[in-house]
């Protein structure tokens, strides 16, 4: 199964603006569900058994990982980026919601498949232990997960319909003002009111942080909108429900708008353009409007899809 397919079927696309969760003094802005919810969503859809374990002590977490690897299991881990030595130094921030896969052990080195590195890579056992037991926001607490019973051949149409309904519900109907399309509007209001005192340095850091949450966390760019578009195309191909193809192209255009937002923000950070938070807020509002129309249309297509 492809990465976009897993992403889409687990209804991982989302938007949430969480000012109460602070990352280096900045609010958390998420464009997807937390990793554990993604894996659980997938498990629910595909009917395979998955076990999650967290640990009190680093030693027992490492012992359990070693035992699973020796039993030939493929193990997923959550880890803090800062402590992973194979990450490029400039990208090593304290960010804990990173997931990677360990497929074997060679002496004191783990063999790691990480979306960040193109080829597979290695990580020393003591470094991995530190990364898995990093503290702070979204602390992984040694979280590991593995498959217990393999998936059966899925019915793509049934799974797809269900996943689309869940995603449109998250984006349009969550009764919380900071989730989904309303979350984007809330963020827009917050950006509009950014104080410009002290030369605007604080405001520049804030919008830089937004762009990093959007582009740097995870693969694919544009806050996972491109990846979801890819899922819609693949689902259209697998089920023959061609209406999804047109929607995929529309979502790519929305992803392009997100990237234009990033470009506009970066120009202000570099002082090529004057710092103007209201202009960025306007872009966010337009994006919220586009996404609202998009997910309403997706909902209509989902309802019309008889199977």
């Amino acid at each position: 199964m492809s990465e976009p397919m897993a992403f889409g079927l687990s209804s991982a696309l989302a938007f949430a603006y969480l000012p109460c969760i602070r990352i280096n003094g900045m609010p958390l802005v998420a464009f997807r569900m937390p990793p554990r919810a993604i894996v659980k969503g997938l498990q629910r859809g595909l009917g395979f058994g998955m076990r999650f374990e967290t640990f009190r002590s680093p030693a027992s977490g490492t012992a359990r990982l070693d035992a699973l690897l020796d039993a030939g299991k493929l193990v997923g881990l959550q880890a803090g980026i800062y402590w992973l030595p194979y990450f490029p130094p400039d990208l090593r921030f304290h960010f804990n919601a990173h997931n990677l896969l360990v497929y074997g052990r060679d002496g004191d080195d783990y063999l790691v498949s990480d979306p960040v590195a193109e080829a597979s890579t290695r990580c020393a056992r003591k470094d991995m232990e530190k990364a898995r037991f990093a503290k702070g926001v979204l602390a992984p607490r040694g979280l590991l997960y593995y498959v217990t019973t393999p998936p059966s051949e899925p019915d793509w149409a049934v799974l797809g319909r269900r996943a689309l309904a869940r995603t449109t519900d998250i984006m349009l109907r969550t009764p919380l003002p900071f989730v989904g399309v309303r979350g984007i509007e809330m963020l827009a209001r917050r950006v509009e009111r950014l104080p410009l005192d002290g030369g605007g340095e604080r405001a520049r850091l804030y919008i830089g942080h937004l762009v990093r949450m959007q582009e740097e966390i995870g693969t694919g760019g544009a806050g996972f909108r491109f990846m979801y578009a890819s899922f819609l195309q693949e689902l259209a191909g697998k089920t023959g429900h061609a209406a999804l193809d047109g929607l995929a192209i529309r979502l790519v255009e929305i992803g392009d708008r997100w990237q234009e937002f990033a470009v506009a923000a970066a120009r202000m950070i570099r002082r090529r353009d004057a710092l103007a938070p209201p202009a960025l807020a306007e872009r966010l509002r337009a994006l919220a409007g586009d996404e609202r129309l998009f997910f309403q249309e997706l909902r209509r297509v989902q309802r019309a899809w008889a199977c």
């Binding site: 976009p4 602070r22 280096n24 003094g25 800062y82 402590w83 490029p88 130094p89 400039d90 990208l91 090593r92 921030f93 304290h94 979306p115 960040v116 590195a117 193109e118 530190k130 990093a134 503290k135 702070g136 602390a139 520049r204 850091l205 830089g208 942080h209 762009v211 990093r212 582009e215 740097e216 693969t219 694919g220 760019g221 544009a222 491109f226 990846m227 578009a229 890819s230 195309q233 995929a248 192209i249 790519v252 992803g255 392009d256 990237q259 990033a262 470009v263 923000a265 970066a266 950070i269 570099r270």
Partner: protein
């Protein structure tokens, strides 16, 4: 984004790594295209790194002036803030803040120094000095 528009600007912060971006190919299908980096990402990453480096630099000046302890400098060097250092060590924030006082820091028992050094990923000797 179209496949030919995928940025290849050589983002230095990726240190030679390549990133994968989903882009639309000539056949109208989305696929993963390797990217050597996007200037926008480089700008925002450098901005965040420089902000942390600036805080470390300012803390170092204050250590030299006797206004704070090396602990604060090493905290910023490890890209942490007070909240994170407090969570990582399991010490109250006010205690950590108190240990920023040079006189208090100078009298810390080895066990506490080890706890800080472990949390920051450095040795106890390094923790006691600023280079």
């Amino acid at each position: 984004m179209r496949e030919q528009d995928v940025p290849q600007e050589g983002n230095a912060t990726l240190a030679g790594h390549r990133k994968a971006i989903y882009a639309v190919g000539d056949d109208g299908k989305l696929r993963l295209v390797p990217s050597r980096g996007w200037e926008v990402e480089e700008i925002v990453t450098r901005q965040a790194v420089e902000d942390l480096e600036r805080r470390a630099r300012e803390a170092r000046e204050r250590v030299r002036a006797g206004a704070t302890s090396p602990l604060e400098y090493h905290m910023y060097r490890a890209r942490m803030d007070l909240a994170l250092l407090s969570q990582t060590t399991g010490l109250w924030r006010w205690r950590v803040r108190r240990h920023f006082k040079p006189r208090v820091f100078a009298r810390l028992p080895l066990s506490l120094l080890q706890r800080y050094a472990e949390a920051l990923g450095i040795s106890v000797e390094t923790l006691g000095q600023v280079e």
